[in-house]
Assembly symmetry: C2
């Protein structure tokens, strides 16, 4: 059992929780908690850490079968976890590699393009909603908060394992490639010319959502085939970015079900 935060493996875990650069260099990220561990694809697991109390809880041993693990003391687990009351299990996982060109080239699909989202919880919530709404892939601009930030990972509630997500150095290029493959791009904008429920989303489409504070950049807006607006009653000026994305994705889902 590791009982000291001075242990080199513990130091590395702390680093992986805090530094996007470190995660990127090693190609791994952290997943905390029982649900996140149990839903993780088994071949992504690089290493696993548990507490004694986690091992003693009924049923938890079964979930570990065949996976090697290291035991951490409660205080060490707390030091490496990002949550106030850790559930006693922490996995180091390999980052997935998805192929955007392949997904963009399919006959159908609905994509979510996120430009410079800054809040880790917002990004995780958008991934979670994207899976539930049946989105094919999520594409992130390079200035978006790190997808593998522990807060983001947790907020995805496991969707990070299942929905292809791409961090694109050339965000505009990715939007253009999707367009070349027949995707119609709709930008969410408060002064959009059409209501968001007017266009036909039953064919291949993509939604462009901008940063929480500034919205979409002019460059991104220029890439859109159409700007759509979500109606604002009262004196509300805008919606939270994750809410705006959800309203659009579920409108596409609603149309596709009919």
């Amino acid at each position: 059992m590791i009982t000291s935060t001075a242990n080199p493996r513990v130091k590395e875990l702390v680093l992986l929780g805090k530094k996007a650069k470190e995660r990127k260099e090693q190609g791994v990220f952290l997943a905390e908690g029982k649900k996140m561990f149990e839903e993780a694809p088994k071949d992504w697991i690089r290493s696993l850490y548990v507490t004694e109390s986690y091992l003693m809880e009924e049923g938890n041993q079964d979930g570990l079968l065949g996976t090697e693990y290291e035991i951490l003391s409660d205080s060490v687990m707390k030091a490496v976890c990002n949550t106030q009351t850790p559930q006693g299990v922490l996995a180091v996982l390999t980052m997935p590699k998805w192929e955007f060109q392949e997904i963009a080239g399919r006959k159908d699909g609905c994509f979510l393009f996120l430009e410079d989202i800054q809040d880790p919880g917002n990004l995780g919530t958008m991934m979670r909603t994207a899976e539930a709404a049946g989105i094919s892939a999520v594409i992130l601009s390079s200035q978006t908060v790190d997808l593998y930030n522990p807060k983001t990972v947790r907020a995805t509630m496991g969707s990070i394992y299942r929905i292809p997500c791409f961090m694109e150095q050339d965000f505009a290029g990715a939007v253009r490639r999707a367009k070349e493959e027949g995707t119609k791009i709709y930008a969410a904008h408060v002064s959009g010319g059409k209501m968001y429920d007017e266009p036909d989303y039953k064919t291949k489409c993509g939604f462009l959502i901008g940063n929480e504070g500034r919205g979409l950049s002019d460059n991104a807006l220029a890439l859109a085939d159409e700007c759509v607006r979500i109606p604002m009653e009262g004196s509300a000026e805008s919606l939270n970015a994750a809410i705006a994305a959800a309203v659009l994705m579920y409108e596409a889902n609603r149309q596709q079900r009919r």
Copy 2:
């Protein structure tokens, strides 16, 4: 200028930021930041605190015209604010008093009933979305996180000033009163019998949304006229509560626009 956190007024501000009980007893809450101050109804302002740098910024003096204020040093402002980088203005506001019976008795309306929401940011986001979607009022169960928590206030982005919101000791009673006044109640539930976009929301209606972890209680479910489900693609098990509420509220908005 107040420069010490030992000042009794500063101590009281800290208390008002931290303790729901203190806010309730005094009937006041805190609003931080320029937007929240400028949008606040002028007759709600009980007292106002600014920093010297806030006063010096162009245009800010104009916004203060006629309002008495006290100057706080930057470090004192930081100590009383809940944000990492305070904007230099903090208002103490009187809690509004709305009359639920009057609103519930109107001919039309769409209500949001929230049971035991725990995350302050989620609650604030729901208030913000409710205003934008044209909801008439939001009703909170007594176990819901405090509406006047500074994080919630901030996340409402000003909607807290405009959308009537009620904390009900007798939540079930409030739902029943709304029903007696002709409101049809729809509960969001993963195993609801109807898709959320099937019912007609063009007449008086209300949505019941449950706690982030456990969903709606059996008691609350029993009050619903109908349970509706939002489709879940992939392996997603649920949506974030604020997202589920948004999808329902904007479906009602969409139908009412047609």
